[in-house]
């Protein structure tokens, strides 16, 4: 460059000209490129495609609307219109005259109105002027007052003139209406019929493709004026984003691409143009979560402000979708946003953000299943979790273990529970990915032995209520187990744990129970579970002693594999070494040795057992003597869903992206010790979370539960309004889920697993959603307290749960709140038979007794047709409900066998009482309420109340 010429210029100017020209050209091109780069956005392409789709869909809708119009009516109206027009043309001369007059009147009115308005403005100004002058005591005030008065008069005159002009116009219009009124009326009817078409036509005009739109309004650099392609955003003042320093109203731009998400009619089109799958619950204007109040990202997560596929942090549901997105959108694992979108199957996790006052949420089936799994697996026992503080320990008590199990069985069980019972929730602590090495076996066996030794050494003596009971008939027992409802909570080897689900694994699986314990124990347990474990949720089935013997005899025949054998036979030296390891962790080495020297070999083993139980947290799930006050050992998970991925330690696991929180949790749940891989650790430094051998489905459920444990960010305005009813619902739902009522009954659309096992649903446990409207609270109280047989032909029966008064009242308030018939105290007017015998007549006419019991069970009916004893009605049923029920039973219980006797309500087929359905129904109801002497739970309730 520094080639210098001796004279003239330092550089060759001709060459510089060329360089200048070239660089200017580059600048020009790069500016064009820059403008194009800024203009050419992903979302604009999407909107263009949607514009075409919308045009097409609207055209189709228009065609459909055209077909839907009543052709006959339209034809008639058109004919009427033609006739009316004919009438007008017959008087054309007069009509023309009047129209000319109307025009004149119109002009006159316009002039009068303008003059009035001008005067009014002047008057207002001068009036203020006068008012201000007078208030300020100016000398000009009197003069201004005169002006004001003068103008007020002129204004009144002008107003009069205007009114006159108006009246004149109305008069002319009226005259004209004599001739043209008919046409206008018919025209209006036609417009009404074709209103939808007119609307769609207008819409089509707006969205029709046009060159102006493509090349002018949406052109680069001009598109700031009035583009048709633009970012669509909603700002939500009641839903906030936490930007760490402040909470700001959420701003969601998702609709920039998801243009039809809140519009009906796009259900069959693929994303991003599809309609939301549940507009009745979400986004719809009349839904509880309208789009302009709820937005998108509060549920789905992701970066609402972004309008590119990648930056919004979309999350694929599976591998296949992931690969597809990578190809199509250049998707990558989100790492620029702390809370990427939830995979679609886990979206319900977000319900918990606002629905905070309850654990279980209706319609959030996936979330409820997730929480049920979370409870069943006992996650909350080691990991403190908000909302799960008061849940009972998930495992059985071990304080009386001596009378139930043998040490050998316990060792095999701890070693690998699934080898004994494949469907158990008891996890595996030993022989996991971080303690399966060849050197680990002696240590594992030592700890297992020590734990078992500690448990048995600390078991209290238990005396059976019935010792050495006699045996029964196993076949009979099997029938009872299958029929009476045990399977609502227990499985007997019916497929994998994730297939049968968390509700049916509420109780211990019964498989292999014959190997586990003795006949005597099973007999006593079935007979009265609370005798062995006072706090157990296992209810009393009210079996006779003979039936108990049958059941126990059957159960004891259920035998399976003994489990994994010990992989090493450690001696006392290993015990000593392991104990020393534990001790020197908490005290200086010399002290540990001294303490060991003081102990006998048995004491050492027991001490080791205690320390191992403490380390693995067995006491979190089981009652164990000596651990009554021990604290839970796991991380608090109450806000785990909000945890930032940087807080998770991926250690040497490199095959999952380190920006994926879900990836970490997924690995952790599949293999809780995975993150020890490749690390050099002392035995006591190793991870200790046990392995639950979770299936993919179960992991997904638990991930949903984890992601639902969020920080509290949303303001109260975003949450459902609190009321006694909402609170009752929350408490009640939690109760019926935690007691597994939903194992047998369908309540608010959830549960009813046992019903699915019964061949005919009408022979299964009843659906309880309308229970609050159906039965009287005091009857319900007595029934839950001491159930009676309502349908003797059923195999399944309502057990005695032994709920305390508080819980029974929760149940009553809960059902009352579902049907909005709150409160246990209700007056039921005693209805008299005011209608004479009509009620009885109808009762006989409709053959109610053909299916309903009235003292005796009707013969010649298949059991599925049988219905409860009507003599219970006055005490049991709510009078108001009987009316609703008779009117249309299937509205209350879809699929019920109860016929609808008034399908054309309020018309009636029956002549009684003037053929009025409502009166007839009332008459039957009143007749029912005269019955007496049915079975009643109240007697038993009084008794059991006295016993307490």
């Amino acid at each position: 460059m520094a080639e210098k010429k001796s004279v003239g210029h330092a550089y060759n100017v001709d060459f510089l000209n060329v360089v200048f020209a070239a660089s200017s050209l580059f600048l020009f091109l790069s500016v064009i490129w820059m403008v194009w780069d800024d203009f050419d956005r992903e979302w604009k392409h999407t909107q263009r495609r949607f514009a075409a789709l919308e045009y097409q869909v609207t055209q189709a809708t228009l065609a459909q609307a055209g077909r839907a119009v009543d052709k006959n009516k339209l034809g008639q109206l058109t004919a009427a219109e033609a006739a009316a027009r004919k009438n007008v043309s017959a008087n054309q001369q007069k009509v023309d005259d009047l129209q000319a007059k109307l025009k004149d009147a119109d002009n006159a009115l316009f002039r009068a109105t303008t003059a009035f308005q001008t005067m009014k403005a002047t008057y207002d100004q001068d009036r203020y002027d006068f008012e201000a002058s007078r208030a300020n005591g100016l000398s000009s005030a009197p003069r201004k007052e005169e002006i004001e008065k003068d103008e007020a008069k002129r204004l009144a005159d002008l107003d009069l003139a205007r009114e006159k002009a108006e009246a004149n116009k109305a008069d002319v219009q009226k005259q004209l209406g004599q001739y043209t009124g008919q046409v206008a009326t018919v025209q209006k009817s036609i417009d009404e019929i074709t209103a939808e078409q007119t609307r769609l036509n207008k819409r089509l005009e707006v969205i029709a493709p046009s060159a102006v739109k493509d090349y002018f309004r949406n052109a680069p650099l001009l598109d700031f004026l009035a583009p048709t392609l633009k970012v669509q955003q909603i700002i939500l003042p009641n839903v906030v984003d936490d930007v760490n320093f402040i909470r700001v109203p959420k701003m969601d731009r998702c609709q920039t691409c998801h243009l039809a998400i809140d519009k009906k009619g796009y259900e069959k089109y693929p994303q991003p143009f599809t309609t939301h799958p549940d507009l009745a619950t979400y986004l719809g204007g009349s839904s509880p979560h309208p789009i302009d109040k709820t937005g998108c990202t509060v549920c789905h997560e992701g970066m609402g402000q972004s309008v590119s596929f990648r930056d919004t942090a979309h999350m694929p549901s599976n591998e296949k979708q992931k690969e597809e997105w990578e190809k199509k959108y250049g998707w990558e694992q989100p790492h620029l946003w702390d809370y990427p979108m939830l995979p679609i199957a886990m979206t319900e996790a977000s319900c918990a953000k606002c629905h905070k006052q309850q654990v279980y949420i209706p319609k959030a089936d996936k979330l409820n299943m997730a929480y049920a799994t979370y409870e069943r697996a006992g996650c909350f026992a080691c990991h403190k979790t908000k909302g799960f503080e008061d849940v009972k320990k998930p495992g059985p008590i071990l304080t009386k273990i001596d009378s139930k199990l043998s040490q050998d069985w316990v060792r095999n069980w701890i070693r690998n529970p699934k080898a004994v019972k494949p469907t158990t929730w008891m996890p595996r602590f030993f022989y996991n990915s971080n303690n399966s090495g060849p050197d680990d076996a002696p240590r594992n066996e030592t700890e297992i032995n020590a734990i078992a030794a500690y448990l048995f050494a600390n078991a209290e003596k238990h005396t059976f209520a019935v010792s050495n009971p006699g045996h029964g008939d196993a076949k009979n027992g099997e029938q009872i187990v299958k029929a009476i409802g045990c399977q609502g909570c227990h499985v007997v080897g019916e497929g994998s744990r994730s297939e049968v689900g968390p509700r049916r694994t509420f109780g211990q699986p019964l498989e292999n129970i014959g190997n586990k314990t003795t006949y005597e124990w099973i007999y006593n347990w079935v007979r009265d579970p609370k005798h062995y474990s006072p706090a157990t949720y296992m209810p009393n089935l009210r079996l006779t002693d003979a039936q108990v013997a049958d059941v126990a005899t059957y159960l004891v025949t259920l035998k399976g594999p003994a489990g994994d054998a010990a992989k090493a036979t450690p001696d006392a030296t290993v015990t000593d070494a392991v104990l020393l390891d534990y001790l020197k962790n908490v005290m200086p080495f010399e002290d540990a040795k001294a303490q060991m020297a003081k102990m006998s070999p048995e004491q050492r083993q027991l001490d080791l057992g205690q320390r191992a139980i403490s380390r693995y947290g067995c006491f979190s799930c089981h009652d164990i003597k000596g651990f009554e006050k021990a604290q839970s050992i796991g991380t608090d998970l109450s806000e785990e869903g909000s945890k930032l991925v940087t807080r998770l330690d991926f250690a040497f696991i490199t095959d999952i992206p380190h920006s994926s929180k879900l990836g970490w949790f997924d690995r952790k749940l599949h293999d809780p010790r995975a993150f020890d891989k490749g690390r050099v650790l002392q035995p006591l430094e190793k991870l200790r979370m046990p392995n639950f051998d979770l299936s993919n489905v179960e992991v997904e459920r638990l991930l949903t539960a984890l992601m639902s444990f969020q920080r509290e960010i949303q303001p109260p305005a975003a949450m459902p309004v609190r009321s006694a009813r909402i609170d009752n619902l929350g408490v009640g739902r939690t109760l019926v889920h935690r007691r597994n009522c939903v194992g047998c009954h369908i309540i608010e659309g959830d549960g009813g697993d046992f019903v699915k096992l019964v061949a005919d649903p009408s022979l299964g446990p009843p659906m309880l959603t309308p229970e609050g409207a159906r039965v009287q609270p005091d009857w319900l109280y007595a029934f839950v307290r001491g159930p009676i047989t309502i349908r003797p032909w059923l195999g399944v029966r309502m057990p005695t749960f032994g709920l305390n008064d508080e819980n029974i009242n929760h149940v009553i308030s809960y059902f009352g709140s579902i049907s909005n018939t709150i409160g246990p105290f209700q007056t039921h007017e005693i209805v008299k038979t005011a209608n004479g015998d009509s009620g009885k007549q109808l009762f006989e006419l409709l053959k109610c007794q053909q299916c309903h019991v009235l003292g005796a069970i009707p013969k010649d009916q298949p059991t599925s047709n049988l219905a409860p004893d009507l003599r219970m009605a006055p005490e049991r049923l709510q009078p108001e409900w009987i009316l609703q029920w008779l009117k249309k039973p299937s509205d209350i219980l879809p699929g019920t066998r109860m016929p609808a006797f008034w399908p054309d309500y309020p018309k009636s087929y029956y002549p009684q009482l003037g053929g009025d359905a409502e009166t007839q129904i009332r008459a039957i109801r009143d007749h029912l309420l005269t019955f007496k002497g049915g079975p009643s739970p109240k007697v038993g309730a009084a008794k059991s109340a006295n016993n307490n």
Binding site: V13, F20, S23, S30, N244, M303, D311, L644
Partner: protein, 358 residues
């Protein structure tokens, strides 16, 4: 391949990296006659390019180098190599002319100033070309919208803007008040003071080396080694937890570096004198305090009497003392680095009681 990469990783260790940078500077100054050849200049550029080309095949290297924040530093490396070589070359060429009695080439046509169109036109072209570069750059290296800043979740490593990475590197060796306040302050004061200290009129308006040996060497050491190479080191070689990572190394957040640094007082009282640390902090730190006082106040007059006698005579008292104190302050960084690397020295003076550490 693996061997070359681990060799480069080893060389990139801050200790070796710094020593090599110093050694390279010494060689450039010493062998400037040879460095001035085009072969060396373009060869060095080519080698640098080759290194980056080789590196981009490695996923870790690629990730660090192509990070939008770091791309300018890649450019900085090439520009640094080129301009250091170019100035040395031009200086050497002029030195030869001066030795031959011809005077520097820039003086040959000193009666002429080419403004129009030469200067203005080339400036305009440069303006246009830089605009083009910036536009294209902004199209290719987009700035994404990220999650809201979270004071509880700072990025690891948290890095200063690239032009402050040299200062951030000093934080490894000095207390924040020194590395962040005193030394940067002195840098600015020193830069302002240069025209008053350096009265040498030679080299004004033309390239030369031999007429300004000390000045240029000190400048190259301060700017290229202490400033730019520390920026490069901070950009590419400092990873999570401010740990050192070779250019081909995975930035593993779990990497640990043994840091058992010892204060001077502990060296003397505990290791040397086999006593406990005195409870009075002044007594405890007396040796460090004396050393610092010696470095700042006694060393300049000593040097004036001994090795730098000629400078003292040439520059006169005030200029000499200002210059030497500034120079000593600059040298405190490499000295402290050396002391850290050789003796694990943490602080010369450590008085946590009054939050004062040197």
């Amino acid at each position: 391949m693996g061997f070359i990469k681990s060799a480069i990783n080893a060389v990139a260790d801050p200790r070796l990296f710094f020593m090599l940078a110093v050694a390279l500077l010494a060689i450039i100054v010493w062998q400037r006659e040879k460095v001035a050849s085009n072969a060396v200049g373009y060869g060095a550029l080519g080698l640098t390019g080759l290194f980056f080309a080789f590196g981009t095949f490695d996923v870790n290297f690629r990730q660090i180098v192509t990070k939008p924040d770091n791309v300018p530093i890649v450019g900085l490396i090439f520009l640094l190599v080129f301009f250091v070589w170019y100035s040395i070359k031009e200086g050497v060429l002029n030195d030869r002319r001066i030795a031959a009695g011809q005077g520097p080439i820039e003086k040959a046509e000193s009666d002429r100033v080419w403004v129009w169109p030469d200067l203005v036109y080339t400036e305009l072209i440069s303006l246009i070309l830089f605009t083009v570069i910036l536009i294209v750059w902004s199209i290719f290296l987009k700035a994404p919208l990220e999650q809201p800043a979270n004071p509880a979740n700072t990025p690891n490593p948290s890095k200063a803007p690239w032009y402050f990475l040299g200062l951030q590197e000093m934080l490894v060796y000095f207390d924040p008040w020194l590395a962040g306040v005193v030394l940067p302050g002195l840098i600015i004061v020193g830069l302002i003071a240069i025209p008053y200290i350096d009265k040498n009129p030679k080299g004004n308006g033309y390239f030369t080396f031999s007429e300004r040996k000390a000045e240029i060497t000190i400048f190259l050491f301060g700017f290229v080694v202490l400033w730019c190479s520390l920026i490069v080191l901070g950009t590419f070689l400092r990873g999570p937890n401010w740990n050192f990572f070779g250019p081909f190394e995975f930035w593993d957040i779990h990497k640990l570096a043994a840091l058992t640094n010892v204060n001077l007082s502990e060296y003397i009282w505990v290791r040397g004198l086999h006593m406990g640390l005195p409870t009075n902090w002044f007594v405890r730190e007396i040796f460090g305090i004396l050393l610092v006082l010696f470095y700042v106040f006694a060393l300049p007059p000593l040097l004036a009497k001994m090795w730098l006698k000629t400078y003292y005579v040439k520059m006169g008292g005030p200029r000499y003392y200002t210059g030497v104190v500034l120079f000593l302050m600059m040298m405190s960084l490499p000295l402290k680095m050396l002391a850290r690397w050789l003796f694990n020295l943490k602080y010369v003076v450590a008085i946590p009681e009054i939050f004062f550490n040197i």
